[in-house]
Symmetry: C2
Subunit: 230 residues, 2 copies
């Protein structure tokens, strides 16, 4: 492999969305089961993006999709929340804790490779999230720059084009089979990182044995080692 750029998925791969969102939910909606709420909210994520990918609707920011799916979920659970609370809940996705190995692993990988965030989160959301968690990326890339969502090939190709490399010179790192399948279909190299607690304590995350990838890793430090970084 002739890798120049290592592109990282963010939600679940680099940061712990489950704990971060559940913590915010617990503070803002004290009467709901915060972990369950976070999971149900996230369940609406892929379907909401698929409506944009399938051109059922025009481009919409992830913040907009998060707000719509939040409104839907609150209605379903018959939970009251004012506009300000809903805005704050949407912004919970802007500030999430990194997994313990993310910062140190990225710092090693960055020595030898260009490191990029490549997420379905909007550019502004990602800039805030990366800054808040002090993640050492060389640049922020977002599906927003292609105005569609992963796993559309356009997102991966836009990332390679902006960094002036061929698709096969980009290694996509993700904890999700669907993302790696999309990256591989677009001609990228792939690295799976196992994040068994990604969906909280009660739900199974994607398992290494089920995922096809060029590299299988269990942390960003393991990935750094497999990539021969100091």
């Amino acid at each position: 492999m002739d890798i120049r750029v290592v592109a990282f998925d963010i939600f679940g791969t680099t940061v712990d969305w489950y704990s971060g969102v559940a913590d915010q939910v617990a503070q803002l909606l004290p009467d709901v089961d915060a972990g369950d709420f976070a999971q149900r909210w996230r369940d609406r994520y892929i379907p909401s993006m698929n409506r944009v990918r399938g051109r059922e609707r025009d481009w919409a920011y992830l913040d907009t999709l998060h707000r719509e799916s939040l409104d839907d979920l609150l209605r379903e659970l018959d939970v009251e929340a004012d506009d300000d609370t809903r805005d704050r809940l949407v912004r919970a996705w802007h500030k999430l804790p990194a997994w313990p190995d993310s910062v140190s692993g990225l710092a090693r990988i960055r020595v030898r490779y260009t490191t990029a965030a490549l997420s379905n989160g909007g550019f502004a959301l990602l800039t805030r999230l990366v800054k808040g968690a002090a993640l050492p990326f060389d640049c922020i890339l977002s599906a927003e720059l292609a105005r569609t969502y992963k796993p559309d090939a356009a997102v991966y190709h836009t990332a390679a084009a902006l960094l002036d490399v061929a698709p096969e010179q980009v290694l996509m790192v993700a904890a999700h089979e669907w993302d790696l399948d999309g990256a591989r279909a677009a001609g990228l190299r792939t690295a799976f990182v196992s994040r068994p607690r990604e969906k909280g304590p009660d739900r199974a995350a994607d398992r290494p044995e089920d995922v096809e990838a060029d590299l299988h890793t269990n942390s960003f430090l393991d990935l750094a080692t497999q990539l021969d970084t100091p």
Copy 2:
């Protein structure tokens, strides 16, 4: 002023293109006057971008414009250079030294504001340049994302939109009157930074008394202080 984002021009404002390019020219074309060569090359910069801005030609990367103006300059000076040398000269613009106050000033400003590179350089060029000089930006923005060049309003508006702020919440920092005039016309706030050696020892840079701006500064540290950062 309600500033959220501080956007920095790069060539001449954050890095010393004159010394960096002249050093590379001296190594690769030992028989030419390197400083004069760097200046003449840069003289072709604005006219070459104006042809894109004026739709006389389709979008072209800064690397492409640099290569064309290099070929033109070598022809004018009757200097021989093979293809590999020309490629290396174009890449001289990818690795340039920061001004002495750039890293420390940015580090202070970043504590309180989102810091962004906002240059006519391509996204890949800027990512390399920022990494090579260890400039602590929160994100890279490029005129490439708007597929035109500063001072077109679209470049400044694209930057504000990607960071989800209003134009007047962006402070554009530059050593060039034309850039700040463009930013102000697009509704941004402006800060002039005086870089008297920007064009080398023999040519005058833009002078503070000639430039209209919300803030006048003589370094990024001075800017950090005027912005009340710790």
